[in-house]
C-alpha cells in the first residue's frame, strides 16, 4: 500500500511552517512531505518543536507562517472548514484525554454520532470493531477511570481510528506510561503501520523508530536537521547535534 510514487500528491505537506508563541520562535521554517502510507517518526531534544509541529498539522496550534496541506488542500487558508479537515487527522495525546464522564464505547462513538451523524447502532458497530482492533472490546462498558494507563491509551487510539482518518498523529503517547505498559501500545501502533496507515509519531522510543518507521526526522531548534531512513540516521548521523542526541538516548 505504500505509495512511493513521485507523481502523487503527498498526504501531508508542510511548507515553510512557522510558529511563535509571543517572542518565542518554536518553529522557524519546516518543509516536509509525507506520502500516503508512510510512517514518519520525529525525534529531537525537548523544546525542539516536535509536538508543536504535530499540533500544527491538525491546527490545534495555529501556524504563524507558512502552510499545512492535507492531500494538497491548504488547511491554513481562510474559509477552510477546520472541523472537517481535523476529521482527516486522528490525534493521540500523551495524557490520553479520554472523556471521563463517558463509557469506553461512548468515548469512541461520540464523534461518530454527533459529528458524522451516524445512528447509534452504526456507531456502536464501528466503535466495537475499533475496540476489538486494540484488543479492548471487553472493556466497552467500563469507565476510563477503571482502566490502566496502557488501556486508556489504546482506547484513545481506537477513538481516533473510528473517524477513519487519513493520517494519525501520535504525540509522545507512551511517555506517561509505566514501562511494562508501553509495549501493548507500541504493538497496536506497529499493526496500524503494517496496515498502511499514514503516521506521524513523536516519540522517544528509538526501538520503535528503528523497527517500524520508514523515515526518521531529527528536529532541533525549530527546524528539521536530518531526514532519512532510520538505519541511516541512527548509524551514520551526519550532524553533530544528532550525534550528541543519539549518544544521550541510546
Amino acid at each position: 500500500m505504500k505509495s512511493g510514487s513521485d507523481t502523487k500528491t503527498p498526504r501531508v505537506q508542510l511548507k515553510d511552517l512557522q510558529k511563535s508563541f509571543g517572542s518565542l520562535d518554536v518553529l522557524t521554517g519546516i518543509d516536509l512531505d509525507i506520502d500516503a502510507g508512510e510512517v514518519v517518526v520525529i525525534v529531537g531534544p525537548s523544546g525542539s518543536g516536535k509536538s508543536t509541529m504535530l499540533r500544527c498539522v491538525n491546527l490545534l496550534e495555529e501556524p504563524t507562517g507558512g502552510s499545512v496541506l492535507i492531500d494538497g488542500i491548504d488547511i491554513t487558508e481562510d474559509g477552510v472548514n477546520v472541523d472537517r479537515m481535523r476529521q482527516r487527522c486522528g490525534m493521540v495525546f500523551q495524557h490520553f484525554n479520554l472523556f471521563p464522564h463517558m463509557s469506553v464505547l461512548k468515548n469512541v462513538t461520540v464523534a461518530l454520532r454527533k459529528v458524522k451523524g451516524l445512528s447509534k447502532s452504526e456507531a456502536d458497530q464501528i466503535g466495537l470493531d475499533r475496540l476489538h482492533q486494540v484488543d479492548l472490546a471487553q472493556k466497552a462498558d467500563a469507565r476510563p477511570a477503571q482502566l490502566s494507563g496502557g488501556q486508556k491509551q489504546r482506547v484513545a487510539i481506537a477513538r481516533a481510528l473510528a473517524m477513519e482518518p487519513e493520517v494519525m498523529l501520535f504525540d509522545e503517547v507512551t511517555s506517561a506510561l509505566d514501562p511494562e505498559l508501553v509495549k501493548g501500545v507500541l504493538d497496536v501502533m506497529t499493526n496500524l503501520a503494517r496496515q498502511g496507515m499514514t503516521m506521524m509519531v513523536v516519540t522517544h522510543e528509538m526501538g520503535f523508530a528503528r523497527e517500524v518507521a520508514d523515515r526518521v526526522i531529527f528536529m532541533d531548534g525549530g527546524v528539521v536537521v536530518e531526514d532519512g531512513p532510520p538505519r541511516q540516521l541512527m548509524e551514520n548521523p551526519r550532524s553533530d547535534r544528532l550525534k550528541e542526541f543519539l549518544s544521550q538516548v541510546l
Binding site: 490545534l60 481535523r86 495524557h95 490520553f96 471521563p100 459529528v115 462498558d141 477511570a145 490502566s148
Partner: protein, 388 residues
C-alpha cells in the same frame, strides 16, 4: 553492649550523655503543674459557692488551664520515661486536677447562674418556646409560609441556574463583548446587597410602572433573588468549566467537533458535575435569603396559590400580634429542617467527589489520569458500578 543500655544504666536522671532527656527530680514543671492543679480544684467550689471574689474568680480556670499546659509542655520535652515514673505521674496528676478544676468552675458557675436567674429564664422560655403559640402558628406556617418560601426559592433557583449557565458561558466566550457584559453583570449583582436588589426590583420597578409580573410581590421577590443567584451561580459554573483540563477540549476538537459541540458534550457536563457541591451551597444560601423579601411587604392572601407571606413574614407578623416570638422560633425550625439535610447532602457529595478520586489513585498508579488532582471522575465512575 549497646549504647542505649549503657546510657540507661549509667546515667543519672536528667539530660544523659546521649542527649536523651529523662524525668529528673529537680524538674520544676511537674511540681508547679501539680500545685496549680490542686489550687484550681480547691479554689473552684470556694469562689463559686462560698466567697464572692467577683471577676477575680476567673483566675481559677486560668490556673487550671495553666497547670494542664505546663504538664503537657513538660511531657513533650521528655524523650524517655519508664512506665509509672513518679515525676511523670505528678505532671499528669497536675494536668487532670487542673482540667477538673476548670470544668467545676465552668459547670458550677453556669448552674449557679441558671438557678439565680430562673425567673428571667422562665420568661424567656415562654417568649420563645411557648408550645401553645407554636401549635397555633404551625398550620399558617405550613400552608402559607412554607408554600410561599418554596415558590420563591424554587423560582429563584430555576432562574439563577438557567441564567447563571448563560452568563458563565458568556464569561468564557471568545467574544470580548460577551465577556465584558457578563463581567459587568456579575460585578453588579454580586457587589450589591441582596436586599437592595430586592427593593429595586420589587418596589422601585413596579412603582415606575414596570410590572412584568402583575401585582403579586411574590413574583418580584423570586425574580430579584433569581437575578442575585444568577451572578453567584455564573461564577461557580465558570470556575467549574475552567477547571476542566485543556486536553479535553483538544481531544474533542481533534475528533472534528466544532467548539460549541465540544463545550456542550464534553466540557460543560464535566464542569457541572464538578460544581455540584458549591451549587448546593448556593441553593441553601438562597433558601435563607428568601426571608429578605420582608422588605417588599408581603401580605396574607388566601385567594391565590402564588400569593401570601413567606415563613419569616408569617412568623414575625404573629410575633407582633401576640407579643410572643415562639412563631419566629418555629419559622426558624422550618428553615433548619430544610437547610440541615441539604447541608449534609452537600458534604456527602463533596466527600464522594474527593474520596472517589483517592480510590482511583489506589487502583491505578501507572498514570497521571485525564483528570486534574482533587477532581471528579468517580462521581460517575462508580455510579455504573463494577469497580469498587
Amino acid at each position: 553492649m549497646t549504647d542505649t543500655t549503657d546510657v540507661l544504666d549509667t546515667s543519672a536522671p536528667g539530660t544523659t550523655p546521649g542527649g536523651r532527656r529523662t524525668p529528673a527530680g529537680s524538674d520544676v514543671k511537674p511540681t508547679l503543674a501539680l500545685a496549680l492543679g490542686v489550687l484550681a480544684l480547691v479554689a473552684a467550689p470556694v469562689v463559686i459557692w462560698l466567697v464572692n471574689v467577683g471577676p477575680a474568680g476567673l483566675l481559677v480556670p486560668i490556673a487550671g488551664i495553666a497547670a494542664s499546659r505546663i504538664a503537657k509542655n513538660y511531657q513533650a520535652e521528655i524523650d524517655y520515661s519508664p512506665p509509672g515514673d513518679p515525676i511523670m505521674r505528678r505532671a499528669q496528676l497536675g494536668r487532670t486536677l487542673g482540667i477538673t478544676g476548670a470544668l467545676v468552675f465552668l459547670i458550677g458557675g453556669l448552674a449557679t447562674w441558671i438557678v439565680g436567674n430562673i425567673e428571667q429564664l422562665r420568661t424567656l422560655q415562654t417568649l420563645l418556646f411557648d408550645v401553645g403559640r407554636m401549635v397555633e402558628a404551625f398550620p399558617v406556617l405550613l400552608t402559607e409560609g412554607l408554600r410561599i418560601t418554596l415558590i420563591v426559592w424554587i423560582g429563584a433557583v430555576v432562574i439563577g441556574q438557567i441564567l447563571g449557565v448563560v452568563i458563565a458561558l458568556m464569561a468564557i466566550s471568545r467574544r470580548r463583548i460577551f465577556r465584558v457584559l457578563s463581567l459587568i453583570y456579575i460585578d453588579i449583582f454580586r457587589g450589591l446587597p441582596a436586599i437592595v436588589t430586592i427593593v429595586l426590583v420589587g418596589i422601585a420597578m413596579p412603582l415606575a410602572g414596570l410590572r412584568p409580573f402583575g401585582r403579586n410581590p411574590v413574583f418580584y421577590g423570586a425574580f430579584a433573588l433569581g437575578l442575585v443567584a444568577t451572578a453567584y451561580i455564573a461564577e461557580i459554573v465558570r470556575a467549574g468549566i475552567q477547571s476542566i483540563d485543556e486536553g479535553q477540549m483538544e481531544a474533542a476538537r481533534s475528533l472534528g467537533m466544532p467548539h460549541g459541540k465540544a463545550m456542550g458534550l464534553i466540557i460543560i457536563p464535566q464542569g457541572i458535575r464538578r460544581v455540584v457541591p458549591p451549587l448546593t451551597n448556593e441553593y441553601i444560601a438562597l433558601l435563607k435569603d428568601t426571608s429578605l423579601m420582608f422588605v417588599i411587604g408581603l401580605v396574607a392572601n388566601s385567594s391565590s396559590f402564588f400569593e401570601g407571606r413567606d415563613l419569616y413574614r408569617v412568623g414575625t407578623n404573629l410575633a407582633q400580634q401576640n407579643g410572643n416570638y415562639s412563631a419566629v422560633v418555629l419559622a426558624g425550625l422550618f428553615y433548619l429542617v430544610m437547610t440541615i439535610p441539604l447541608t449534609r447532602l452537600t458534604n456527602y457529595l463533596d466527600r464522594r467527589l474527593r474520596e472517589g478520586h483517592a480510590a482511583e489513585d489506589r487502583s491505578f498508579t501507572d498514570d497521571e489520569d485525564d483528570l486534574l488532582p482533587g477532581t471528579t471522575g468517580p462521581i460517575h465512575g462508580h455510579g455504573g458500578g463494577g469497580m469498587a
